[in-house]
């Protein structure tokens, strides 16, 4: 069973704020999802290599050549707030 503690822990990692009854609901949902996926446990995969990528493509590179990016003005256009050329964020305590 997926416990409500597990749900709250995952929510914490994902910075989700769950309202009172939601953690109970999600525990049930996650349980159902896991149960469904567990069907795969019935298959013999001992000779199958783990899939690290769905595309059958390897070794995609770029050369080490500089190309122009964004100007400071363009870059900061995405910010909610900015100051002195930097993205302004709540104070981070180190």
């Amino acid at each position: 069973m997926v416990s409500q503690e597990t749900v709250n822990y995952i929510a914490g990692l994902a910075r989700l704020h769950l309202a009172g009854a939601e953690s109970e609901k999600f525990a049930k949902d996650l349980e159902a999802i896991l149960h469904y996926v567990q069907k795969l446990d019935g298959l013999d995969v001992s000779v199958i290599k783990p899939t690290s990528h769905v595309l059958n493509v390897e070794n995609v590179f770029r050369d080490d050549v500089i190309k122009p990016g964004l100007s400071q003005e363009q870059a900061l256009a995405f910010s909610v707030e900015n100051l002195n050329g930097g993205y302004k964020v709540p104070k981070v305590i180190e």
């Binding site: 080490d64 190309k67 964004l70 993205y87």
Partner: protein, 478 residues
Amino acid sequence: MTTFETVIGLEVHLQLKTQTKIFCACRNEFGHAPNTHVCPVCLGLPGTLPVLNRQVLLDAMKVGLALNCQINDFVKFDRKNYFYPDLPKDYQISQYDFPIAKNGFLDVVSNGNKKRIGITRAHMEEDAGKLIHDAENACSLVDYNRTGTPLVEIVSEPDMRSAEEAYDYLTALKLTLSYLGVSDCDMEKGSLRCDANVSIRPVGQDKLGTKAELKNLNSFSAVKKAIEFEVGRQTGLILSGGSVVQETLLWDEAKGRTLSMRSKEQAHDYRYFPDPDLVPFTLDVAQIDRVKKDLPELPYAKLDRFMTAYKLNQYDAFILVQDPALADFFEACIKIYPDSKKLANWLNGPLMKELNERKKVFAQIKLLPLEMTELVRKVEDGVVSNLVGKDILGIVLSEGKSVESIIQEKGLAQVSDDTVLEKVVDEVLADNLKTVAEIKGGKTGALGFLVGQAMKKMQGKANPKKVNEILTRRLQND
């Protein structure tokens, strides 16, 4: 009473000095206005795709091979998930279970003994942005220029047993890495960064004690001091009946102590998974062998060769190999002037002094092997004194003139003319009757004083050997 043993493992982050970032074509360089070397990829904007810089893979391979690692023929990237304002995608692209390199070692000379430190792995990842704390406005400002700077993280085995050994490992690692030319390796600039995992255990126990992770180690000496402090703290804790808690600690250089970073406790669940935006990489043996063959001669191999081929002692050879450019210069010089000991003395002594005074490394100055050897020869032949020779070296470096022209222009040639020197000796003997009497009375050691007086009268330009000869003869005959 229980005696404890210290166990240390180091994690070193090395910034590569490629032209562009690891996954996008932005310029990889520091010291620019904030957020001027960014693009949709490194800002993590939706819909963008990272593409690996070929040079990063090559450089990381070089690092792995230089550290005697096995290079994995299958390499992939994974996402390390956490939230922090300096990480725009909310995940860092790193490598989890298939790093580029694993199972290596580095031989370190510590306390006069060679010790082999295991290298667990080396992997590629991207650097985060830079946070600037703005106290005045009670906020933090983020500069994403550094985001996506290529890093190689080098993880050692917990093989070090003292702060001293950790320091020596770091020194040897930095030297080895600097030979590869893939990074500035400068701790002050942050192109080489170090975290230390420190624990203690009773001597004889196999199981590792609970470790603390030390961060904010901004210099080699900070690494040493922080480990020493931490070992003391943990020992005190255990002896007084407490126990060590696994946590991340920050080194406070000003206070000389480690401080707890309470906020990070929960953040260790990174939920790694393969990054679907990057396809895997396969490396063939021929390619790995080619990179291996092209590695430069590494410092410890060079040290051994200098000692054997040029009959240098360990001390002289060790100083020379600290800077590959200086070591190359030495080898260029020795083809012209074969006395290795005299050359090493000049390079490690006066030349090093000039470099230190100018706050430069050898690669930043202009000095031809022919000028250096010419100078050593002039001193050896007695054309100029040792002292004047050192001055000439300074002028060669400042003004870029040849040794010969400096001697001519400034009239620095040593005086070996007998009539001139005889006259000076006359004066010295007359001025120092007391010393002369002492020498005649058997205190022959005082002869040096008279030679010094003659040199002084000649402003250092007298040939000291000649002066010595004349003085000795006169003192015997008179």
